[in-house]
């Protein structure tokens, strides 16, 4: 079970080796990976929309889609068909080239990142030795796509959304990368596979103080990176209609959704890989563990969406620069302390408590320095 997909791929490559020269085998191996990812991405996206609608509906005393297929399982297909046959409207004054290219440029990076996600044991499409860097670099390309869409639409709401999005992505990129550094320090490699391997035997990094903090920061920044609630300012429906994709319709619009959901998946997958032990886990096949953990995190994202109102621009920026960034820098120091105190063992009291004390202290200090907004208690007189 565990190596099911790996074996299928090996069989396919073996089959081609029997018939074709060996260099074709290499191409087949690449092609199989590409096809698998190119199918997996949209498939995950389609069913994430269904999951989102179902979960959010349950949180809102509703049932959610249940008409197309059993439990609405064919709803994504129906949506897809609807999107495909919808009229594609391009505003007359839009920059046609940019308007066309933008959705593609947003989806491509979101799909590319799937290449370095370790879906299971031996199930990384490309085991790059700079995997994490690849993830950070490629996911930042999406910003250009968003701004292209915003600018190309020639709509003021879109430009506002694009501006917000760029500011937000550039700001959250920094604490996000900084919160990965502790993991790299602990593992000593940029490869996603090596990071998962290092977390074998329940040595998940989330169980260490720095790992826990890093996990929270990374996940929050990730939520902000893929423009999801409560950080969905770039497409804030109630303020700027749909932000950068206001002027899109039909399949192009669906592509933006696809990118959003796929990056929600990759962010959750990356958090799993970096902090939650990736595919490590007992009994169940490794890929199942990966998906379980990832969908757990996605559930948290949906939970955010269903319950939290949106932050304002200045509050969003303040959170990134005044709070998450300093905390992630302190986290690096804490990791170094952990590294030198732990002496190769995962759990030693000193290695646990000293970084914890440092982090708690700096958290407290940052709260003191920033003086974040505390809800005011108010008294409302009742008069005649």
């Amino acid at each position: 079970m565990d190596q099911m997909f790996v074996n299928i791929k090996a069989a396919l490559v073996g089959l081609s080796d029997k018939v074709f020269p060996d260099w074709v085998g290499v191409l087949v191996s690449i092609a199989v990976s590409i096809v698998a990812i190119a199918l997996l991405g949209p498939l995950i996206m389609m069913y994430l929309t269904l999951i989102e609608r179902k979960v959010v509906a349950r949180m809102q005393n509703r049932i959610g889609p249940n008409r197309v297929g059993k439990y609405g399982l064919l709803q994504p297909l129906a949506d897809g068909v609807k999107m495909l046959i919808k009229e594609d409207i391009v505003p007359r004054n839009a920059d046609k080239v940019l308007h066309l290219l933008a959705p593609i440029l947003i989806v491509a990076p979101a799909l590319l990142v799937f290449a370095v996600l370790p879906f299971g044991r031996n199930m990384t499409a490309v085991d790059l030795n700079v995997g994490i860097l690849f993830f950070a670099a490629i996911s930042s390309i999406g910003t250009i796509g968003i701004f292209m869409a915003a600018w190309g639409s020639n709509n003021k709401f879109s430009v506002l959304g694009g501006m917000r999005s760029v500011a937000q992505m550039i700001s959250y990129e920094i604490p996000m990368v900084m919160s990965v550094v502790p993991v790299l320090l602990a593992v000593g490699s940029l490869s996603t596979n090596a990071i998962v391997e290092a977390q074998a035997d329940w040595h998940w990094f989330v169980f260490t103080p720095w790992g826990f903090l890093g996990c929270v920061i990374f996940f929050l920044c990730g939520v902000a990176e893929c423009n999801r609630s409560p950080f969905d300012l770039a497409e804030a429906e109630s303020e700027i209609i749909a932000g950068f994709h206001t002027e899109y319709s039909g399949m192009k619009f669906a592509l933006f959704y696809m990118a959003e959901f796929m990056s929600a998946f990759t962010i959750s997958g990356m958090t799993t890989t970096l902090f939650l032990g990736g595919w490590q886990g007992p009994l169940l096949p490794s890929w199942l563990w990966f998906f379980l953990k990832t969908y757990g995190l996605i559930f948290i994202m949906l939970w955010f969406r269903a319950t939290l109102p949106r932050l304002r621009v200045d509050q969003l920026m303040a959170l990134a620069w005044k709070f998450l960034l300093p905390l992630s820098l302190v986290n690096i120091v804490a990791t170094c302390i952990w590294h030198f105190l732990s002496d190769e063992a995962f759990f030693t009291p000193a290695a646990f408590l000293v970084p914890l004390a440092l982090l708690v202290f700096s958290y407290w200090g940052l709260m003191k320095l920033n003086q974040p907004y505390m809800p005011e208690k108010r008294v409302y007189p009742l008069v005649d």
Binding site: S238, I241, P309, R312, Y380, P381, D384
Partner: protein, 390 residues
């Protein structure tokens, strides 16, 4: 070449802060998810900060007043439903009261109690929905709205049972109400009133201390009491600014003098106060409802001693004169000014719409805040375009 460049630098330096900043004029509306209808705000933005804001309305204008001047008095009743289509019962009440004042009609007690029950239920419906919408404007993904709508549906069921329609009730008549309340319906209302506090507690736990809600609402869109009075603001918005003025207490119209209830006042007049005053008003409404349900007694629901002019509603001719009737509608003071020339149609029919006049201070509240705040402030005013544009 260098000449040109120097000119360019000069332009850049001309701003006050040393930077030449561009302003961006954005038309929020008339088609926009958060303008609560076809309402438009022309906002000039500097970055994200609102520099000026001009409300533009009239997209839903159908000259309600002229329509009413060309039809009989009682035919206007269903049109008043469409003013503030969330609160048809209290609109009916205001119109019925005005005409009764004009024709000097006495209303039986039971009818008054039914009217009070209906208009307080309306207040519950309006306030829960407006809080839900406010949260939507803040970016919550429909959850508070749907929680609110679950309760609203229960009340609408009652409205449907008594009047035949959920929203456009057309229930009140000059001299009373259209139909009597049965004991079943009273029981239904009693159940709603008994269950409502639990819902309010839940709603409050979810929202009142939520950090993001507080960050977005507190000290945003402050409306000082002096400005509120000067700009004729009424309703929860006025009371959130700390002014004690509730027409139910001031005029003591209908049977409001028989109930024990208080008026909650806000502290600062910001969005949060406007939200919370509405929460507290709902609790007071529940108190009124409880008392009204206890005190209501069997009896006639239409005026028994009908004046000659009221015998045939289609031929209803009030005496020559004029009247200004006002009630505390959920959104503020809803007034009807009617001038009668003794004919079947009113000579003049005017609606003093609270949403319309409350919009006066929108710009004053929004300037200096962010675009996102402007949306929330608009949401906290609580407008309905049927009433703004009439």
């Amino acid at each position: 070449m260098f000449e040109k460049m120097r000119v360019k630098t000069k332009v850049i330096d001309s701003g006050k802060s040393g930077l030449d900043t561009q302003t961006l004029e954005v038309n929020v509306g008339p088609q926009h998810p958060s303008t609560h209808g076809v309402f438009r705000m022309t906002i000039v933005l500097d970055g994200e900060v609102v520099k000026s804001l001009r409300p533009v309305m009239g997209y839903l204008h159908r000259n309600h007043e002229q329509i009413a001047e060309n039809i009989t008095y009682s035919a206007s009743m269903p049109y008043t439903d469409r003013l503030d289509y969330f609160n048809s019962m209290s609109n009916n009440q205001a119109w019925a009261m005005t005409v009764e004042q004009l024709a000097e009609v006495e209303i039986p007690d039971r009818a008054e109690y039914i009217r009070v029950i209906m208009s307080e239920l309306t207040r519950l419906v309006n306030h829960v929905s407006v809080i839900g919408f406010l949260l939507n404007d803040m970016g919550a993904f429909f959850t508070p709205t749907l929680f609110a709508f679950r309760e609203r549906e229960k009340v609408l069921d009652v409205f449907e049972a008594v009047s035949g329609s959920r929203m456009m009730c057309n229930y009140l008549r000059f001299g009373g109400v259209n139909r009597d309340l049965t004991d079943d319906q009273l029981g239904q209302i009693k159940k709603i009133v008994a269950d409502f506090p639990a819902f309010l507690d839940e709603f409050e736990t979810l929202l009142a201390q939520n950090e993001i809600v507080c960050m977005r609402c507190q000290n945003v869109g402050v409306l000082p009491a002096e400005l509120a009075i000067n700009a004729s603001i009424t309703g929860p918005m006025l009371r959130a600014s700390g002014v004690n003025y509730d027409i139910r207490k001031v005029d003591q119209y209908s049977v409001y003098d028989r109930f024990e209830f208080k008026i909650p006042l806000g502290e600062k007049g910001d969005v949060y106060d406007r939200y919370y005053v509405r929460m507290l008003e709902m609790r007071e409404s529940l108190k009124i409802l409880n008392q009204a349900l206890e005190q209501i007694e069997p009896g006639p629901f239409m005026a028994p001693k009908v004046p000659a002019c009221l015998k045939n509603p289609r031929n209803f001719k009030p005496p020559v004169g004029e009247a200004y009737g006002r009630v505390e509608a959920p959104k503020g003071e809803l007034g009807f000014y009617v001038v009668s020339d003794g004919s079947k149609e009113p000579w003049r029919y005017h609606v003093r719409a609270p949403s319309f006049i409350n919009l006066t201070v929108l710009e004053a509240m929004c300037i200096g805040y962010k675009l996102a705040d402007a949306i929330v402030i608009l949401g906290s005013i609580d407008i309905v375009l049927g009433e703004v544009d009439r």
